[in-house]
């Protein structure tokens, strides 16, 4: 559907590297000296019990938090301080644990909003609604329609998002993130609050996104079955420390992971 925006990194190479990252809020040490990497084209899961620092980790990756220590290398460039919009411009998109959409706008407009960063015409042209701005809009609309088709949501194209059931809102949110054509897609608990059927649908969409668009995906998820089925590699955090990293099978048989989930005293 599109050419990768950065052709220098081939599938399987490291797309994002986290090295010795630590993050604390006052006295609370949310992440302690964690290192791992995300390779291009894979589905990478970040799991761990409640309060393990998973969402903090995601916020570090997309620039919402700046870690006190450590180094983050994205697409071969080391970055120090960045803001979320820099991350977005740099090719990182995300969805949220609790849906964050424009509730009064239609599903179509919400997903179109994801194209904003790729629109080049200025405000004046946009207001005129003809010429280059119109052409640009048509082009973006076509891309958005492909996403709508991809996520099986043509029937809600023109429905206000606030009126949609939760499972569909989640899908629209995924659509908006996809509209950015990200190099790295961060999903914060994509299955939270879903019933079994919705979970199965969402799993299939995540796999399809990974396969069809070649998008690298990092996801946080509680549902172990889902994680084990979906991901290529899993990193496990507990109390801000990395306790395991490997394939789902390796992680599943790791004693530290079992202890963390069953709650052994520390």
């Amino acid at each position: 559907m599109r050419a990768p925006t950065d052709s220098k990194i081939a599938a399987g190479d490291v797309l994002l590297a986290i090295e010795n990252v630590s993050l604390s809020f006052g006295g609370v040490r949310a992440i302690r000296d964690v290192s791992f990497d995300i390779r291009k084209g894979e589905i990478r899961a970040i799991i761990g019990p409640n309060g393990a620092g998973k969402t903090s980790m995601l916020n570090v990756i997309n620039g919402f938090y700046t870690p006190q220590k450590g180094r983050i290398t994205f697409k071969g460039k080391t970055r120090n301080k960045m803001r979320p919009h820099d991350a977005a411009a740099g090719g990182i998109a995300r969805t949220f644990q609790n849906v964050a959409l424009f509730r009064g706008m239609t599903a179509l407009d919400n997903i179109m909003a994801g194209r904003t960063l790729r629109m080049r015409r200025g405000l004046i042209w946009q207001l005129l609604r003809f010429g280059p701005a119109m052409e640009e809009e048509v082009e973006h609309r076509r891309f958005v329609e492909e996403i709508i088709d991809f996520l099986h949501i043509p029937h809600i194209r023109k429905v206000q998002v606030g009126r949609l059931p939760y499972g569909l809102q989640k899908r629209v949110e995924l659509g908006r993130a996809l509209a950015m054509e990200p190099d790295l897609l961060l999903l914060d608990e994509p299955m939270a609050g879903m019933n079994l059927e919705e979970k199965e649908d969402m799993s299939r969409f995540i796999l399809d996104v990974n396969q069809h668009f070649g998008t690298t995906i990092a996801l946080i998820e509680h549902d172990m079955g889902v994680v084990m089925d979906l991901s290529d590699r899993v990193v496990v955090l507990d109390y801000g420390v990395k306790i395991a990293d490997g394939t789902p099978a390796e992680v599943k048989s790791n004693q530290d992971v079992i202890d963390a989930y069953l709650g052994v005293a520390h």
Partner: protein, 672 residues
């Protein structure tokens, strides 16, 4: 053909192109004819990525021809069976003609059937090649393919998610067409293709349609090109359908109704068929197209009406009053105006105002603003629902047909519409009523037989060509129309001899938006009992307005206030039955509300959503017993199948209510 033509395109002077429609006795020949006489008219539309894409007859011919040649390249040949599985997509319709051009026989399957059901048909029909819409259908095919040694290639329409499959076995339609194009480049091959089309005859098998059947295994109804074509042409003549009609194809491909309306009649009349974007967008898509001819089972009309009524209850008081005033007005005068009867001027004026304020917008909502003819068939429609649509000025008519007849048996001519008849025999159709009251017919559409089942063919079709419909009915003396009472085998008698027609009672109950499904029992019993399904949308909205709190379908279904409300409906039905002569004795004494919805996946409904009364009686045996032994409640535990095929259990205590019946003089209602 001149040597210059390498693509096997149909030239105007070729033998087939000269066929007049009457000589175009097969669908591929008819397609070639259409491409010649109306080549630039739009034949098919499909909404894709939010935009209507269209194909002219000439383009359709090109698509079908390349597809067909590609299938030949994959090994499909005369007499082979090609399965077609999926929703209404242009390329699935083209697959039918592509197969027919080779002399192969298309076998469409219900897209929502589970893999097991599919396996039976695929095996029985000896399918060698399958065309599937998408990954979902391909997955089902693959899951049962080890049971189907004959099945070779699987051709798919939607490439999404198909990367990891065996590329030797699976092939995308685009690639099939590429193969076809290449093959047609050879003059000998393109000539061979054309010769194949010319060799086809009206008496060849055109299609095998498997009927879901209320009992037993599905039967493969074999129809010839002549069967389908003559039936379609007669249908077109009957309703004066021409190339300007617009229809939307949204019913299952495996249903004979869709095959006639969206394929055969379109080919015969040359009108355009539009495929919706997704099953969920049909109403909106229909509105955009502005269909002139429509066809739907009663359920579709019921659902539209229920949805409207529920939404109106949520509207503001002013809107609600305006709505109810004009709807009541339309009930009184609308049908008379539609039937061109004499109507006072003031009524016409107020009806016009109503048309601007209510009827027009409502028809627009339904996507029926431009409708010329709308049929309801497949099952009896509630008279109130029927009259409602007609009162709005929608020319809704009834039709009686079957797969074995290539649809048409009887239909209502314009201007002769009655809520309780199914019309007059269609062109070339003869009807007679057997001694046991069963309706029998004979027509050019009469099927060739059930595939590989001479025994059941013999039971249904007499040697001189009469077909048993299995329905009990009579010809109304006043109108000359056929009236259907019920399935012949379902019409029973209470133990005191009173006539008991379960479908008749069920339809009366289902008229209420709150009641989604009803199953009546009474044959050889002392009195009539019913089991009901509430309609979650309608009752849910009622619960919201009445502060009834519930956590699940099961809880809502068992709520005492819901029982009170439903009991009122049942009593109304009894009052209505009391006024209907022979039916008066079969009033409902007791009822219960089932804790789960009746589902086709659990085998309780057929795939065309008809209730399977016998099966339900077995499955809910403790409830049926309790209905008749006077208990106030009963326990039931039953298995449910979820949409993904896994199974679960539902356990519930179900309350049983007695309802008042209306006394009738003892002499009435008894069978003589």
């Amino acid at each position: 053909m001149k040597a210059r033509s390498t693509r096997g395109k149909i030239r105007e002077d070729s033998a087939v192109a000269k066929h007049a429609p009457a000589e175009a006795d097969t669908f591929p020949k008819l397609l070639i004819h259409n491409a010649r006489v109306r080549g630039d008219r739009v034949a098919m539309r499909h909404k894709d990525l939010g935009i209507w894409q269209s194909w002219t007859w000439r383009q359709v011919l090109d698509e079908v021809q390349t597809f067909s040649a590609g299938l030949a390249e994959l090994g499909l040949k005369r007499g082979d069976k090609l399965a077609i599985i999926g929703q209404n997509k242009p390329r699935l319709y083209w697959a039918m003609c592509a197969a027919q051009a080779l002399g192969a026989i298309p076998v469409p399957l219900y897209a929502d059937s589970v893999a097991d059901e599919m396996a039976y048909v695929l095996d029985h029909a000896e399918i060698t090649l399958a065309v599937a819409e998408n990954q979902e259908q391909v997955d089902k095919l693959i899951s049962v393919s080890d049971r189907l040694p004959k099945l070779g290639h699987i051709v798919y329409d939607e490439p999404r998610g198909m990367r990891e499959y065996d590329p030797k076995r699976l092939i995308w339609i685009d690639d099939v067409q590429k193969l076809g194009r290449k093959r047609l480049e050879h003059l000998t091959e393109s000539k061979a293709w054309m010769d194949g089309v010319i060799a086809g005859q009206g008496s060849d098998l055109a299609i095998i349609l498997y009927t879901s059947g209320t009992t037993g295994r599905p039967k493969g109804v074999m129809l010839s090109h002549t069967n389908v074509l003559v039936s379609a042409r007669n249908g077109n003549l009957f309703d004066h359908l021409g190339e300007d009609e617009e229809i939307i194809a949204y019913l299952p491909l495996a249903w004979v109704g869709d095959h006639i309306f969206s394929y055969a009649q379109s080919y015969a009349a040359g009108y355009c068929v539009s495929c919706p974007e997704a099953p969920e967008t049909v109403v909106e898509d229909r509105r955009e197209i502005g269909t002139t001819y429509a066809f739907a089972p009663p359920r579709i009309y019921e659902n539209l009406l229920t949805l409207t009524m529920v939404r109106m209850e949520d509207a503001g008081p002013l809107k609600r009053r305006v709505f109810h005033y004009f709807i009541n007005f339309a009930r009184r005068w609308g049908e008379k105006i539609l039937n061109r009867e004499r109507v006072p001027l003031y009524a016409r004026l107020i009806y016009k105002i109503g048309d601007v304020l209510v009827y027009g917008p409502l028809k627009n909502r339904f996507g029926l603003s431009r409708i010329r003819i709308a049929y309801t068939a497949g099952e009896a429609i509630g008279p109130e629902i029927f009259r409602f649509y007609r009162s709005l000025g929608i020319n809704l008519k009834q039709l009686y047909g079957s797969t074995e007849a290539s649809v048409y048996i009887t239909a209502q001519p314009d201007g002769e519409i009655y809520a309780d008849t199914v019309g007059k025999p269609n062109l070339d159709v003869d009807i007679r009523i057997a001694d046991n009251g069963e309706v029998m017919f004979k027509s050019p559409g009469v099927f060739q037989g059930y595939y590989k089942d001479p025994e059941r063919t013999g039971e249904t079709k007499t040697p001189d060509g009469w077909v048993h419909t299995g329905d009990a009915g009579f010809i109304d003396a006043k109108t000359g129309h056929l009236k259907i009472i019920d399935r012949a085998k379902d019409v029973g008698k209470l133990s005191d001899g009173t006539l008991f027609a379960p479908k008749y009672i069920e339809n009366k109950l289902k008229f209420y938006p709150n009641i989604r499904e009803a199953v009546a029992y009474g044959d050889k019993r002392d009195f009539v009992c019913v089991m009901l399904n509430i309609d979650l949308v309608a009752v849910g909205s009622w619960a919201e307005r009445n502060n009834v709190i519930y956590g699940s379908y099961q809880e809502l279904a068992g709520h005492p206030l819901v029982y009170d409300m439903i009991a009122k409906h049942v009593e109304e039905v009894n009052r209505s039955l009391a006024g209907e002569g022979p039916m008066a004795g079969a009033q409902i004494r007791r009822f219960l509300i089932l804790p789960k919805e009746l589902e086709a996946d659990d085998g309780e409904l057929t795939r065309t959503q008809k209730v399977r009364r016998g099966f339900i009686a077995e499955r809910y045996q403790p409830l049926v017993t309790a209905l008749y032994d006077g208990s106030k409640e009963a326990d039931i535990s039953t298995e449910v199948t979820f949409e993904d095929g896994r199974k679960g259990k539902i356990e519930a205590r179900v309350a049983i209510r007695d309802v008042q019946t209306v006394p009738v003089p003892a002499a009435m209602g008894k069978a003589a």
